[in-house]
């Protein structure tokens, strides 16, 4: 099993969700979050004084998928979330040791 964490622009959520749905990913968790990367945000001005807006709003989409689906899912996310401009986000892929469905206590890939 692999865990995919994708940080994307908030307005791309619908497209990413649809793309994942079309390749058969059945669930995901979405978190509103803020962050910055190489650009380190930017400065704005309020009543003549500058302040930095370093944490920009993003969404983090997390899902755990069977190994064979992982590559397709990453591809779908990248394709759907891309605008080609700075701040499109990142995707991280990690191994997951175990998954348990609380209701039935099923384990492994059956639980995801």
């Amino acid at each position: 099993m692999k865990k995919i964490e994708a940080i994307v622009k908030p307005f791309k959520l619908e497209e990413v969700k649809d793309a994942l749905g079309s390749i058969g990913i059945s669930g995901m968790t979405v978190t509103e979050c803020k962050g910055f990367g190489r650009q380190k945000g930017h400065t704005e001005i309020y009543r003549g004084s500058e302040y930095t807006v370093d944490f920009l709003p993003k969404l983090k989409i997390e899902m755990v998928v069977p190994d064979e689906q992982a590559e397709g899912a990453v591809e779908a996310i990248v394709k759907a979330a891309k605008t080609g401009k700075i701040g499109d986000g990142k995707v991280f892929l990690t191994n997951v040791e175990e998954a348990i469905r609380i209701r039935t206590e099923e384990k492994g890939e059956k639980a995801v």
Binding site: K34, S49, Y51
Partner: protein, 598 residues
């Protein structure tokens, strides 16, 4: 602290009870005196609490004069030598005799004119009360503007201050503020003693404390109408009370914006005890209660109509602005905005701009009560000019501030400054609204819009942290509004204002500098008086409970430690709602401590 608060409340309560009894005793003493035919203590006009005797045929008169129902006053021996005065007397006497003869032939006409008089006065009552209700709603506008411009963690506290100043100020004004301010408005010693002229001319509030220099009377404080008892128990006095109370509460709520996010609630409540009772009514009496500033023109011919302030640029706004200035200066800036050397490093941005703009619209709406209502007369058709001037100045103020920010000062049209600009235009037009042309109103509003931006930058630079721009909007533009009257008054209105014959005319319309000097004296007096009073009240709060919350409370946000409940329970706040941390000694604490020990 609890004990102290209880003590304050107990004192207030005891005062009201004591005054109530004093008034009762006076009343029974008066009845007794009347019964024994001894000279009554109060020989002034009788109040009319039922309102049935207010507005007789004499009130049916328009300013042009339609009915002659009063005999002219007898001429003195001196006047009898002046042929012009004798002729005027004879003409008036003949008109009165003709009227009396006609009235005998047509008694129905007399009854009709009584009814017309009552209706004219009733229209003025209606107008004054309804516009007063509009002004009351401005409290909501202030609450929204001030809270929106603060951080989310202080929303409950800032709102609560704006909320509680309404009852606190009102009760203080009821207790003694109204009597101090208007208790001498019909004192015969004052040249300007028309009483509540537009509402039946009630002249019962006729005791002004003051002094004479030669034949010139300088009124300092009214002394009648405490707790709206005795001479104060009159329908006209009640209508005036309502209208003036909401004006006082406008002043009262201004400093809460400048000192928000760090003012201890208990210290604020102590301020609340003083604003309606003493701080506001003193200068108010001098300008609107027929005190010495109103009589400046009558006493000294070179000073135009004396200090003229139609709706309160100085009486309401500048008073609030000066209190805001002194309190914001003494309490010190919010932690984190300035570094240890006093350089502005972290601007603190508003948490809710829609709230600020909604509040500004509510204020602009309330201003249609504020300015046109200050005629106290729906039968004075100048209210149309007043209303249009008010909206024009608000528009040019908002536009000028926006463009000045956008093109001259920064690269963006700051929404908070748009609002400040509109309010600045409104504050500036408040004093001259009845005396200027549409063009004059537009120009002085635009100047106010630029002035407010420059003023906000100035106070930010010198380290006086005004969270909402109250000092610049109300203080600086209150002063500008009064001075602008001395420049822009076009001489089409205000005949006989403050008992000075002729219309009000400023420098640009050939009126010379006289009116400008009178306004300058008023503005200077306002600053000096209110600065002094504010220092005293701040010091009292400092001694009793301390004005500033602790550093920890300020970091956490005042909502929960001070008020017990957050403004937005269940809402996650982000970095912008936090206090920026700075390296080194906090500038804020150093500054306020030095100020207090000095």
């Amino acid at each position: 602290m609890m004990k102290k608060m209880l003590f304050v409340i107990a004192v207030l309560g005891a005062c009201s009870l004591a005054s109530l009894r004093a008034e009762d005793t006076n009343a029974s003493a008066m009845t007794a005196a009347a019964a024994t035919n001894a000279p009554a203590a109060d020989t002034g006009p009788k109040p009319d609490p039922a309102g049935t005797a207010t507005g007789m045929s004499v009130d049916a008169q328009s300013p042009a004069g339609a009915f002659v129902t009063t005999a002219p006053a007898d001429l003195s021996d001196q006047d009898k030598k002046d042929p012009a005065k004798v002729k005027a007397y004879n003409d008036a006497k003949k008109a009165f005799d003709d009227y009396t003869a006609q009235a005998k032939l047509e008694p129905l006409a007399v009854k009709l004119s009584d009814s017309v008089g009552h209706n004219r006065v009733a229209i003025n009552f209606m107008w004054t009360l309804v516009t007063g209700f509009l002004v009351m709603f401005m409290q909501a506008g202030f609450a929204l503007v001030e809270t929106g411009l603060c951080r989310a963690k202080n929303a409950s506290h800032t709102m609560s201050m704006n909320f509680m100043i309404y009852p606190m100020g009102m009760l203080g004004f009821y207790l003694c503020g109204f009597a101090f301010m208007f208790g001498g408005m019909a004192d015969p010693a004052s040249p300007n003693n028309g009483g509540i002229a537009t509402m039946g001319g009630y002249a019962g509030l006729n005791h002004e404390l003051g002094f004479h220099i030669g034949s010139k009377f300088f009124g300092l404080l009214g002394a009648k109408g405490f707790l709206l008892q005795g001479a104060g128990y009159d329908t006209a006095a009640f209508a005036l009370f309502l209208f003036q109370m909401v004006f006082m509460d406008t002043t009262a709520t201004i400093p809460t914006g400048a000192t928000a996010e760090r003012w201890k609630f208990s210290a604020f409540m102590i301020y609340g005890c003083f604003i309606g009772t003493i701080m506001y009514p003193i200068f108010g009496n001098w300008v609107w209660g027929c005190g010495w500033l109103a009589n400046l023109g009558a006493n000294f011919p070179g000073l135009g109509h004396g200090h003229v302030d139609f709706a309160g640029s100085s009486v309401v706004h500048m008073q609030g602005g000066v209190i805001a200035l002194i309190f914001a200066w003494l309490i010190g800036p919010r932690y984190g905005k300035y570094d240890e050397k006093g350089k502005l490093v972290h601007p603190i941005i508003p948490h809710n701009v829609p709230m600020v703009m909604l509040g500004t619209f509510i204020l602009a709406f309330g201003w249609f009560g504020f300015n046109p209502g200050s005629s106290l007369a729906g039968t004075d058709l100048r209210i149309a000019v007043v209303a249009v001037n008010t909206m024009l100045a608000s528009a040019t103020g908002a536009l000028a501030a926006t463009l000045w920010m956008w093109w001259v000062r920064t690269k963006k049209p700051d929404p908070s400054m748009m609002c400040n600009g509109m309010l600045a235009g409104l504050v500036a037009i408040t004093c001259p609204c009845a005396f200027v042309s549409a063009g004059g109103a537009s120009i002085l509003g635009a100047i106010a819009g630029i002035l407010v931006v420059e003023s906000v930058f100035f106070f930010d630079k010198i380290g006086i942290d005004d969270c909402v721009g109250a000092i610049s909007v109300h203080g600086v533009n209150g002063a500008w509004g009064c001075l602008s009257l001395g420049l822009f008054a076009d001489g089409t209105y205000g005949d006989g204002w403050n008992a000075v014959p002729g219309t009000v005319r400023g420098l640009f319309y050939g009126g010379g500098m006289g009116q400008f000097w009178a306004e300058l004296i008023g503005v200077t007096t306002c600053f000096v008086t209110l600065a002094g009073l504010s220092l005293v009240v701040y010091y009292i709060g400092e001694k009793l409970v301390g004005n500033r919350v602790s550093h920890d409370v300020e970091i956490e946000g005042l909502d929960v430690p001070e008020m017990g409940v957050p403004g937005y329970a269940g809402v996650v706040m982000d970095k912008q709602s936090e206090t920026p941390m700075i390296k080194g000694e906090p500038y804020a604490t150093k500054r306020s401590q030095t100020a207090i020990s000095a």
